[in-house]
């Protein structure tokens, strides 16, 4: 049994104003999280922070004692995006979370250790081994994999590779060339008017029975329900997971981090239902449909 798992704050998936982002990360500096992932992973048109600003923020959080990791864009389409990607991968100070195989390639060429995010498809030990040989330091398990798969992966995990799981947040489910937030306002992507700013946790999409289903986040679609593995912390520890990821939301992120921190100290955590936009789910973890709430 290794030491207690650490807590990470994943990259913010949503589009917030510059002030809101700086205020948020000023609070994060005080939160009991060990690792902070920074950067724009969804849409290159979101520019409330420039790459320079992310580096500044990284410095600040690093000075506050956090391990800072820079996260890359998940869906790369334009050459301008490749330029930003190169800048991040060639930075010599912070580790990088690769969110697509292009970033993995650039980091291998740099010869630096790297993290893979949940949209890099690592589904089996053979894949994990190939990437470990190339410098993979930590992998975030893909969202749809279960604790059974995790147990099998952990049994064959290469020496020195850490495992991180997505433990809390609206789950990133898919990416597209099309911007669905713009589409929902009848706007083309090239003239989106930055509508994502109006939906700090995504824009709700419901079925015709008025049941909340998904949330539109620009070119990304996330779950309307919030994945919550807080009740699973004992099991997570038993599975020797190194890092639990909490995905930022516009409200109450500090309370959520505090609850996980308590749970990892074996103190009874408070229920989190009142801190999420809608309900919670845990289906993927238990091997079911992602939207199911099977325990907790």
């Amino acid at each position: 049994m290794s030491s207690n798992p650490r807590l990470s704050l994943g990259p913010n998936l949503f589009y917030w104003s510059r002030d809101d982002i700086f205020d948020f990360y000023a609070e994060v500096a005080e939160m009991p999280v060990d690792i902070v992932y920074l950067g724009e992973t969804v849409c290159s048109k979101r520019r409330s922070l420039r790459t320079e600003d992310w580096f500044d923020l990284a410095d600040r959080l690093s000075s506050a004692g956090k391990e800072v990791v820079l996260s890359t864009l998940s869906l790369l389409e334009a050459e301008s995006e490749m330029l930003t990607l190169r800048r991040l991968c060639e930075n010599s100070r912070f580790m990088v979370e690769a969110n697509d195989m292009g970033a993995v390639q650039l980091l291998i060429k740099q010869g630096v250790p790297f993290v893979t995010g949940p949209t890099v498809n690592i589904y089996n030990p053979a894949t994990l081994q190939v990437l470990a040989n190339k410098g993979l330091k930590r992998w975030v398990m893909p969202i749809e994999l279960s604790k059974e798969t995790l147990a099998e992966m952990q049994a064959e995990r290469p020496e020195g590779v850490e495992t991180e799981i997505f433990a809390f947040g609206r789950m990133p489910l898919t990416l597209s060339a099309r911007c669905f937030t713009a589409r929902s306002h009848n706007l083309p992507k090239d003239d989106c008017q930055y509508k994502c700013l109006d939906y700090p946790d995504g824009r709700l999409l419901s079925t015709q029975e008025k049941k909340p289903f998904l949330a539109l986040n620009g070119i990304q679609t996330v779950s309307s329900l919030t994945c919550n593995l807080l009740p699973e912390t004992a099991e997570i520890k038993r599975l020797d997971v190194d890092v639990l990821r909490i995905s930022p939301q516009s409200q109450h992120t500090g309370c959520i981090v505090e609850a996980f921190h308590q749970a990892l100290q074996d103190e009874p955590p408070p229920p989190l239902d009142r801190y999420v936009p809608l309900g919670t789910c845990d289906g993927y973890w238990h091997g079911g449909a992602g939207m199911e709430r099977l325990k907790g």
């Binding site: 389409e77 697509d100 292009g102 894949t127 190939v130 099998e152 015709q208 049941k211 449909a289 939207m291």
Partner: protein, 331 residues
């Protein structure tokens, strides 16, 4: 430009071969490929028959092993690769890094193509697969505009194949888990999007309802034809509006882009639809063969003939077609 056509069974393979395909792609009868549908695909004997038939007419056969094995399924994927090598297919189409690693080490002479399911949208990603596994070709996800496709082709270490026609995945292939969010099964893990066993249709006072699992994907008016409840093609409520929030039921059709695709140096055009009938395969292959030949002969004067688009329209989802992401305003 090579024409690569789908075959879900031997009659479809023959239809593709007889109507002018340069290559046909198939899958085995299990979850090792992304069209793992009941009654579809090839066992070893049928695949052998298909390869013999195709070879006799100078047509190549590719085999897709393009899903992602989890630890408990690993041996099945290994066995599938071994089967493909034994069959002597002209190329193996793979997505998973572990599978590519196994195939390139165990069968170094086997041609490897990178599947669309590998979700690689840029040339740096393609370099990874080329440098590590020696892939010879890559199929691009349907997320790039035409100018972005050109940029990838210019910088890619391998030949590029793109989708020309068929049902349109709106999401980036290989990284969409909408299906498992609702059903527990996704293309990556189980080889099917929105698997049929979770689909129900029910007549109600509000109209015909289609569901995937418990999720209502659409309600149809009296004059509307009910579609398949793929999540991304459903009608949902966002704000005050009920509409196709993600995409209408429509098919991709890039016929009119052919001269540009040829100039761009696209190596192959792929037709979607291993789950479709031999009649579909025959019809689509015939039209595309004519179009590619016409374009090769005289690219400057090429235009998509009305009768071609009419033929393709008949077999399209929702009977409509789109240029999809290749055409920027669609995005």
């Amino acid at each position: 430009m090579e024409l690569v056509c789908p075959a879900g069974n031997l009659p479809s393979l023959k239809a593709a071969v007889d109507n002018g395909a340069d290559a046909v792609y198939i899958g085995l009868r299990d979850d090792t490929n992304a069209r793992h549908f009941p009654g579809l695909n090839f066992n070893e004997k049928r695949a052998t028959d298909g390869i013999v038939y195709a070879r006799r007419k100078g047509v190549r056969v590719f085999l897709a092993i393009n899903t992602y094995p989890r630890p408990d399924g690993w041996e099945r994927w290994q066995a599938a690769v071994d089967t493909a090598a034994r069959l002597g297919v002209d190329a193996l189409i793979c997505a998973d890094i572990g599978v590519l690693d196994y195939a390139s080490n165990r069968w170094p002479d086997l041609n490897l193509h990178l599947s669309v399911q590998a979700s690689s949208t840029n040339y740096e990603a393609l370099r990874f697969y080329q440098e590590n596994f020696g892939i010879k070709r890559a199929v691009l996800p349907r997320v790039l505009s035409l100018s972005q496709v050109k940029n990838v082709v210019e910088n890619s270490p391998v030949g590029i194949e793109i989708f020309g026609f068929g049902s349109l995945c709106v999401m980036v292939e290989g990284r969409c888990i909408l299906s498992s969010y609702v059903t527990g099964e996704s293309p990556n893990t189980c080889g099917a999007c929105s698997p049929a066993k979770f689909v129900t249709y029910k007549e109600t006072p509000q109209g015909m309802e289609s569901r995937l699992g418990d999720v209502l994907t659409d309600r149809y008016g009296k004059k509307e034809q009910a579609g398949y409840p793929t999540i991304c093609k459903g009608r949902f409520e966002v704000g005050e509006n009920t509409f196709y929030a993600i995409e209408e039921p429509t098919s991709l059709n890039t016929l009119e882009l052919l001269p540009e695709l040829q100039t761009a140096g696209i190596e192959a055009i792929k037709i979607e639809g291993r789950q479709r009938s031999p009649a579909y395969v025959a019809q689509v292959t015939r039209v595309w063969r004519q179009a590619i030949d016409a374009c090769k002969q005289n690219p400057d004067r090429f235009s998509a003939r009305a009768e071609w688009n009419r033929e393709l329209g008949k077999v399209s989802e929702g009977a409509t077609t789109t240029l999809g992401p290749y055409y920027r305003p669609w995005q």
